[in-house]
Symmetry: C2
Subunit: 228 residues, 2 copies
């Protein structure tokens, strides 16, 4: 579903050139859950932002569901992202004046899918993630890990084909982290989505199908956990 | 150095009362490095915010270096915090229009301590944390983990008596995480500071002197790693 070919992102910072991502080619099939790991600064967030269509590559191409992102206009890419991609980034980015439930329902609304059944699914998903008693709270009233869980619910409620998560468990204790990663794995496998999760927590890698290691903007090695 | 007596923080959210912190009493000696662990939502950030003097308790007292925080006026508490406490929170909170080096030097400036020697120390600390080649970059040009490391440098550069860190390694890979926690431990032990680090990463607990577990706003148990 998701394919990149020699994709790069370069920044000019004063006199030097930073190759945040350096000619990366990878492909992720339907139903495949991939962990993207690597040292701080190795290019994981930059990679994810390009896969999400939020950042334009400096070179190479990204094709999702057969559609090349670089050939889309900004508005086409925005619409494509809204319908087909779900993502969470390192900060939870919730709408501060909407409640927990409204933040998740918003994702259904913008996709014209906020019927009663979908809104019940939003509620059920939040209960599953341990937020059932906080549906009407505002983001500022939640702990860091609670905000992260709302962002995660919002990223998958509209059934995107692609799920991209940047360190979704960074603020979670082990029990919650396992639960979140299991919810991702469950959805990805059952609905044949393509999923990429950036994580520093190598214990989470036992729930994925493949681990891609990055270093200095490149892919260093690929490990298939099914082989073990 | 740091003592709390039956300290509590309660929030009213619609019809219910949330006891974020529920009558916690603890004391931390000079030279002691404590890890504060517990599930998402158990009150760790709230506890840290009260220890930092950023949040006023609903009940109980907090005494730092013999001085009770609740008897200070807002401006006294602000000045006390600036001089005696260093902290990093779950988001890095860097000043967006200042460079990496300027963000750290700012902490020296506000304490009237920005002589040439201190500014060299700021530079050395950033080099030690792997940011030597990014001193002139702006926060928006850094990865999540790089921003976190700048925030960590800023929290210790002015030699505070108390160091409080809320998940300082959440965005860091294992190697960087160990380095950061070692820098904290080194400083705390050498300079007889009191340090509290909130973490979800239980592997980091081998670098601390004591582990305090919270649950539902209370202390559940205290483990002394030296006993093992
Ligand atoms: N301003 C607020 N209004 C209402 N409830 C709040 C507020 N701030 C925090 N809380 C609640 O207090 C409880 C403790 O929050 P806290 O942020 O201290 O948790 P935490 O242990 O840091 O969690 P995490 O590991 O997820 O960061 C949570 O249930 C949270 O929702
Ligand atoms: N806007 C920018 N301008 C300049 N350099 C940038 C910019 N954005 C990212 N970089 C650099 O690109 C490199 C990769 O950054 P990226 O955020 O992808 O790393 P990461 O792997 O997500 O790291 P972390 O684990 O710390 O979150 C870093 O060296 C970073 O400083
Ligand atoms: Mg990142
Ligand atoms: Mg917290």
């Amino acid at each position: 579903i998701l394919e990149t070919c020699m994709v790069s992102k370069t920044y000019q910072v004063q006199n030097s050139t930073i190759k945040a991502v350096d000619e990366v080619s990878l492909s992720i099939k339907a139903g495949e859950f991939v962990a993207l790991v690597g040292p701080s600064g190795s290019g994981k967030t930059t990679m994810l932002a390009m896969l999400a269509g939020l950042l334009t590559p400096s070179g190479g191409s990204i094709v999702i569901n057969g559609q090349p992102l670089e050939r889309m206009s900004d508005s086409q890419r925005t619409r494509f992202r809204r319908q087909n991609i779900g993502f969470t980034f390192q900060s939870s980015n919730l709408v501060p004046y909407l409640s927990v439930l409204e933040n998740v329902e918003l994702m259904l609304k913008v996709n014209g899918r906020d019927g009663r059944q979908e809104r019940q699914q939003a509620r059920d998903l939040l209960v599953k993630l341990g937020l059932g008693d906080r549906l009407n709270s505002k983001p500022s009233q939640l702990s860091g890990g609670q905000q992260q869980r709302v962002a995660i619910a919002r990223s998958i409620i509209h059934n995107p084909d692609i799920v991209l998560a940047d360190e979704p468990t960074a603020s979670l204790d082990t029990e919650r982290a396992i639960q979140v990663v299991s919810v991702f794995a469950e959805l990805i496998h059952a609905r044949r989505l393509a999923g990429v999760m950036v994580t520093h927590d190598l214990r989470m890698c036992r729930y994925v199908d493949r681990v891609i290691q990055m270093q200095d903007g490149r892919i260093r090695q690929v490990l298939s956990s099914r082989a073990e």
